[in-house]
Symmetry: C2
DNA sequence: CTAGGTGCAAATTTTTTGCACATGC
DNA sequence: GCATGTGCAAAAAATTTGCACCTAG
């Protein structure tokens, strides 16, 4: 069956996602890694992001401005998505909040929770006021 | 400026979203409404869904299996997304849970909260066991 | 040697848009 | 009449996939 063979590219993608504090899209990863691997293909990035997500080594933050964003930080936290600039920031979630959410799984087996707050980040609020 | 003129199609889309308990995609809305409006265009559905979302009359549930899903129910609730069949089910969120989440908005101005639980719904769990 | 992994480019899929015509006010 | 809404079809944009070649084990 589908054995998992070691792959330098996949390792690099995983390492990058674990290292950065932003929440990259496939294209961002591609551009970043192309500096180290000039021959890298966008298809490979997509394939590996999908694979890593499915194996639970990274997680998807969902689609922002038409592009899926990924996160190498698996700890329990939510995301604040700025509707102005598309930035994705981590949001701490209280124990209470998470416990309350976990109770909602009466529909089947819950394997993941994603909390997304949307709004305007500080920078975009400032711009708004100036405009 | 962009005045809001009355539109039969937009009204129908809004009414449909308020009426159904599922969380339709643009295409689903299109197919459903084409029975009443044979000349309806998919472009019109997309334009109006976007407009309705921006004016806050409906909300987006985010992308499921590559398609954006919408919700005409504006009350505070979360969603359970089945990874097996793509179904989206409403999940009640406790007051406490929501309050705790709302506290996370230290990054700017929070205008929306979306809580998504992923997993397998009852039906898909059953199928899994049988398979 | 053999099952994976990758590059490349074409194909798919979803959503957006330009434009001519229709409609509300 | 004029700004806005719609149908249609083409365009965009993101992601997937087929295939020939490359590589780890």
């Amino acid at each position: 069956m589908a054995a998992e063979r070691k792959s330098e590219k996949r390792d690099a993608i995983l390492a990058l996602l674990r290292r950065v504090r932003c929440h990259p899209s496939a294209e961002w990863v591609y551009n970043e890694l192309r500096r180290t691997y000039p021959g890298l293909s966008l298809g490979t990035v997509y394939r590996n992001l999908r694979r890593l997500t499915e194996s639970g080594l990274i997680r998807s933050v969902g689609v922002v401005d038409g592009q899926e964003r990924f996160d190498g930080n698996l700890s329990a936290h939510g995301h604040f998505v700025c509707q102005g600039c598309g930035a994705v920031l981590d949001v701490e979630l209280s124990e209470d909040g998470l416990d309350a959410l976990a109770g909602g799984g009466s529909h089947g087996r819950v394997t993941g929770v994603e909390v997304r707050l949307t709004g305007l980040c500080r920078d975009c609020l400032d711009k708004d006021i100036r405009a």
